[in-house]
Amino acid sequence: METLKEKTASTTQATTIRISGAEAVIRCLLEEGVNLVYGYPGGAIMPIYDELYKFSDHLHHVLTRHEQGATHAAQGFARVTGEVGVAMATSGPGATNLVTGLADAQIDSTPMVCITGQVARQLLGSDAFQETDIVGISTPVTKWNYQITKASEIPEIMAKAFYIARSGRPGPVLIDITKNAQFDELDFSYEKCNGIRSYKPKPEIDLSKISAAAEMINTAKRPMIVFGQGIILGQAEEELKAVVEKAGIPAAWTILGLSALESDHPLNVGMVGMHGNYAPNVLTNECDVLIALGMRFDDRVTGNLNTYARQAKVIHFEIDPAEIDKNVKTDIAVLGDVKETLELLLPLLEPNSHNNWLEEFKKKDAIEFDKVIKNDLFPEKEGLTMGEVLGQINRASNHEAVIVSDVGQHQMIACRYAKFRQSKSNITSGGLGTMGFALPAAIGAKMGAPDREVVAIIGDGGYQMTIQELGTIFQTRTPVKIVVLNNDFLGMVRQWQQLFFDKRYASTELTNPDFVTIAQGYNINARRVTKREDLAAAVDEMIASKEAYFLEVCVEKEDNVFPMIPSGASVSDIRLS
């Protein structure tokens, strides 16, 4: 029998070998540098699972407890590593369970390849057992998708899938493989994809746009940067910092841009958007030049577009031409890979500092501190706040943790207060707002960054959407730290009901189970905190733990997240209470 080493030797230069389609899929994954996949087996993908068994020394498969969990774990892995995450599922219900993760990865530009089994070619269209048109279903939520019906198509399509998922503006790709194509043999050789004639991952850079942008920035009196995830996806953190520092421009971030610039940087002025910071939101409507870097002017960022930055000239650095003028009309559009365009911009910028302008941020920060932050981080009332829990996690983890948050009030609190020194450290579902994202995403993040502390911050509602992934943690012994901020409410919805629906709390109160007992059922160390005096020690114990750890913190039930831009309002009408 050939040794595994021979088995996985690169076939790139080698001549072709005769193997099954299922084995070809595995070899393609290895050729693409994949050694970890998440998934769930079933009839239509069994030939591939059989090969996973044979290749288990080289390709590690993590069995999640639900296919949605597999997608979010793959996303967590991708977000923390910058590599493509891979998830697998069987046909029919297995495939449809991937849809939420695909949609999440599509809107948050996460590189992911999903592989689904499909009924045999001759059964397509016959309503066969577990047949579903997953290519049709997933079309609007994938960057690309394809159904393979012949074994011989596998190498080329898989190469294309990885190229498309990771290049340009990244995104999810779904490859559906009929069962006959998994069983049939092909002459296998592998060549990586390095171009597709109908697809241009990066637009060409127009140097005149860069010099025009530089001139506009150099003459600006009150410039402001808003950066998004494009900085992280484009690995442009150093370039961003250099530009910010040289031109002395206050830089704010979108929720997905968080951690691209260290939290303590003197020119980091906080988060924009619905629950962002007071200063950058209000001053968006007072700056003279707004420089958008790798962000897409989401409505949660802009509030009412008719009153958004009307006074400002807008410069938009962006890789995706379809984003230009989509929501906000730009004066200068600088298309291209943001790492390259910022690198070209830097030498054209004049050293500057905008101290008076920066002072205005500080003044507004002081107002926010007094009205909001002080009460969140150093509360004087009896009940625990979500903010103080984040404060303790920051302290105990020394700003070094990867924070994976779910969706709701706790997410906004986590993103407002978590402190970072390192990029790719904030993982959250931004565009789709997928409750249930955090627990499986934290598993993927920890596997992608095993040397880092990974702390999931989850609400009592969202936790119960993917709570079964505790089984995955138990089985794989992945040492993630899980914090549930329990307010016995679907808090964010309750907040809206309080503010905009006269406190009619329709279906937002939760009668919760004993979360500690549940975690212990999975053999996970668990603790519940209800009093302030126990919090610091509990967080210390959690961070010190070498194993997975579950911490439930019972927080004030009806706290609200502020500041807040009510939907439809202007960024400058942000409310502090």
Binding site: P321, A322, K326
Partner: protein
Amino acid sequence: MEKKTFTISVYSENNVGLLNRISGIFLKRHINIESLNVSESEIENVFRFVIVVHTTENWVKRIVGQLEKQIDVIRAFYHVDKETIYQESAIFKISSDLFFDEGQIETIIKDSNSSIVSVSRDFFVIAKTGRRSEIQELYDELQPFGIMQFVRSGRISVSKPQMKISSLLQEFQTITH
């Protein structure tokens, strides 16, 4: 912003599922497709969609941006009517009795520049190519006599400005080979 008629031309690879992906872009934005035609183009193995929509220029720009973003789309363009030469085709099936009993029909056919493509004992078939309004005119004239069947194609059009697909594809060839 004022709504206008735009002709969108999409050059693409010939892949199963692309039509679904393209129509989804309109569906997602709740924009109705007035007409759609898919055919081969002047380039081997490259397909051409001609899509007509009635919307604002803002929207058509965004749609073209989204179309171009699709992996299998080579390029997409939009034009207003005066930038294109466009036509539609229609065929009418009419009872043969009419042809012999109603002398006017022959005049209508002649005046409308349409042609008779088939004649049989029971019915005859008239074909007409032209602008939508010309086809409509013929329809209105024939309708009182009774039309057995009527069908009109989507718009086909060529643009007056160049679209430069061949050079784009050539460029790709030279980069990768």
